[in-house]
Symmetry: C2
Amino acid sequence: MTNQNQLAVKSVLDAWHFRVKAVNEILNKLTDEQLQHEISPGRNRGIYLLGHLSAVHDRMLPLLNFEQQMYPQLDEPFINQPDKAVAELPSANELRIAWSTINSKLTEHFNELQVDEWFQKHSNVSVEDFAKEPHRNRLSIIISRTGHLASHQGQLVLLK
Amino acid sequence: MTNQNQLAVKSVLDAWHFRVKAVNEILNKLTDEQLQHEISPGRNRGIYLLGHLSAVHDRMLPLLNFEQQMYPQLDEPFINQPDKAVAELPSANELRIAWSTINSKLTEHFNELQVDEWFQKHSNVSVEDFAKEPHRNRLSIIISRTGHLASHQGQLVLLK
């Protein structure tokens, strides 16, 4: 019989991979030109959302105690700044490569973790706080980032 | 020390309640008139998304083996049919009430469940299949429906 913690981790990771796949399917159908469009008049462009998601996922590497960010240069234009505030953005092609590279790297690390290790603290909580709030673990990061990804998936699909 | 299964259930439920609250905050800022707008030109209207989310959450009541649907009449216009296919929809006010009532009812049931009960099968999987695929449990429904809600949250926010 499978343990409940193991089942829960599987369901959380399945949901993550499901969303990444769904977003990839949308991105694969969008041309670079379509990515330059706004999801709705006056709103974020597809290219910004692709950069934003890439940056947020890149930051999961240190947040989950895996390794340093691979693309720290994405933080300023895609996290600190809103869309259209930065004149020179990376090309759609560069961002597609970053997005794919970051997610592959995350998957590599995910596959190396034992179930217990998902319940270890993430890097944004102190040892003291984690002792009191043990739900602030790696698994909870995947849950919240899956929601973040889903919310932007609902927007990217509008570009088709 | 808290068990890992208990921590995982808490994180999943926290994410659910976080999304419901975020959607409620968006809905509270939207007028009934704004809900009649499309999220992007030619796309679903806010009123349709509110009805759709209400119907999907209502169907969670039997899916999670809690009780019968409270608003089965929402299935046809908001799940079986796309937006603008049905001429007469419930009013925004009726849908706001349904949405709030359904989520409160779900919360009531959630609060009554013990951790172990989240790992019981949902109603859409057979006993035989569940024996082979024990991840098809109630908890996995919350995880996938939280993602569904998040994707439409990303759209509703465009109406503001």
